[in-house]
Amino acid sequence: MNNMNITDIVNPANLVYKKNSVLNDLPMHYCPGCSHGVVHKLLGDIIEELNIQEQTIGVAPVGCAVFAYKYLDIDWQQAAHGRAPALATAIKRLLPDRYVFTYQGDGDLAAIGTAETLHACNRGENIVIIYINNGIYGMTGGQMAPTTLLGMKSTTSPKGRMYERDGNPLDMPKLLAELDGVCYVTRQAVHTVGAVKKCRRAIKKAFEYSALNKGTSIVEVVSTCNSGWKMTPDFANRWMVENMFSKYPLGDIKDTIQA
């Protein structure tokens, strides 16, 4: 064994995993334990697998994923807070043979960008919406989001979200699934290997559907924000399973293409 050198180990025969070529080598700014990195990787996987790197335009939000454009080597636009679906609408209308997707958080999609999201979906824009729902405003330091669970603590609901004051958590994908313009709505997570595999299939399906011109595809990823939740990454995953999944149950909500 002492005679073994690096080329004996780094050798195509020993390759069990290779990072996709769309995701670049820039170190990510996300906190350890954050779900964004996994979803970015899955996007890179799908774009590489479908061989659409040259035809894909992403729209980044305001929020933690504002720098998504730095990590995936495709053309990107960075939108004002909540406006990504308006940008994506115009891009797709003017470049109908391109793959256009938005990447939005729950503050972006379910609060400030509600109108832009709902109307893009209602027009049935042939885009993909990747919706990261971690129930909190991560980038600004853990404030209450429209998706924050009842009783869940945040810096602007320090004693927990109260229905009487703050209303109920908003389930946007369920709402959007009601619209005829929407062809695919699914809720996924990336906390286990199995979940990551399912989420990967869902994102791939959404991209494939967007090329069929049958309407909008939405993939929600119920995510952790262990920094904002003030938990360890492992505990955050368990807390998500125990608390988030009852309000936001995983699985397909709508699929008009397969049905």
Partner: protein, 355 residues
């Protein structure tokens, strides 16, 4: 052809090779989108026309399409343009070209649907957040609604900046004879890639991806972006000033007015001349960049200026800055949608400057 100013904008946009229009209905400019929908340019030039859910969405659609190097526009009126300020600031920060038409109405608030010029400050002083300027063109006729639409696109792409056509309810609604601009083909995707290598059309193989953003984390980088913008504004101020002079050669007194106020003052000059008063009119066509040098030059040889606006007095501040106290600068304006008559303008000149 005889048509409304708002209709002329729609015709000119199609003819100059516009790729897309995104808008939301608001009086007194709804004819812009109505005319486009009637003309169905998607069947001829391939131009996309889309009614958005709000002015916020409209301007962000303009941002998205402009980021792809496309020639796109929106139009609205005062309250709607207030809603667009965020998007305009983002476009300025991301160095994106695009045309925004504001057919102004009386404000503040929901105001009136009658003509106004009270959005001058918002247009030329940077209505959104941050240090930016926006080329602002002020048409005074239906012909100029067409001509300046074409020019606005040219300036937007030359300086990579949102550019505003600042009209008012009268210029939008009134009908006049107009000679429409010649047809220019829309740019092909190859032409866009060659002319605007920053456009996000999909990353070509072996090339670095393009990013459209106004975000910089480091303050030094953000200052450098600001320096680049400011340098561009200085060039604009040097190269792009446009104005019209009427009877200024021998004038003792000069009206300064834009848009419909300039049309009123044109008549007021005739009234003054018929009473033996040597009046003239300076009509800024570009409100930003403002004809500072021209006003400085005039202030060396005239006895005073009268500024007429459909507002409480906004452009008058820029005239006073240019004149810098050399001669009196008086103001007369009507607000809330009321338009002064030529006699009111003439009386303002006579009473405030001469008597």
């Amino acid at each position: 052809m005889l048509m409304k100013g708002n209709e002329a904008i729609a015709h000119a946009a199609i003819r100059c090779g516009c790729d897309g229009y995104f808008g939301y209905p608001i009086t007194p400019q709804s004819e812009v989108m109505e005319t486009l929908m009637e003309l169905e340019p998607w069947n001829t030039t391939g131009m996309v026309v889309l009614q958005a859910e709000s002015e916020v969405a409209s301007i962000n659609m303009v941002y998205g399409a402009a980021g792809c190097g496309k020639k796109v526009m929106t139009s609205s009126s005062s309250p709607g343009v207030s809603l667009m300020q965020e998007g305009i600031s983002y476009m300025a920060g991301a160095e994106l070209p695009g045309v925004i038409v504001n057919v102004m109405r009386g404000g503040p608030g929901l105001g009136t649907i009658q003509p106004s010029q009270a959005d001058y400050f918002q247009a030329v002083k940077g209505g959104g957040h941050g240090d930016y300027k926006m080329p602002t063109l002020a048409p005074a006729s239906v012909q100029e609604m067409a001509d300046l639409t074409v020019l606005a696109f040219d300036l937007a792409f030359k300086y990579l900046t949102p550019t505003m056509l600042l009209a008012d309810g009268i210029i939008g609604q009134m009908m006049e004879k107009v000679v429409l601009p010649p047809y220019q083909p829309r740019l092909t995707e190859d032409e866009i890639r060659a002319k605007y290598p920053w456009a996000t059309l999909g990353k070509p193989h072996g090339k670095k991806p393009n990013h459209i953003t106004s975000l910089e984390l480091l303050s030094e980088d953000m200052e450098n972006l600001n320096k680049r913008l400011q340098a561009r504004y200085r060039t604009l101020e040097k190269e792009e000033v446009r104005f019209e002079e009427i009877a200024c050669e021998d004038a003792d007194y000069v009206f300064v007015a834009f848009g419909i106020s300039a049309r009123v003052c044109q008549k007021a000059v005739e009234i003054a001349r018929s009473e033996g008063i040597k009046a003239g009119l300076l009509r800024p066509i570009t409100l930003y960049p403002f004809p500072v040098e021209k006003i400085k030059e005039l202030s060396n040889r005239v006895k005073g200026f009268t500024v007429i606006e459909l507002s409480a007095g906004q452009m008058v501040e820029d005239v006073r800055l240019a004149v810098n106290g050399k001669v009196p600068v008086e103001f007369y304006g009507r607000m809330g949608g009321v338009v002064p008559s030529p006699n009111e303008a003439f009386n303002a000149l006579k009473e405030k400057l001469i008597q």
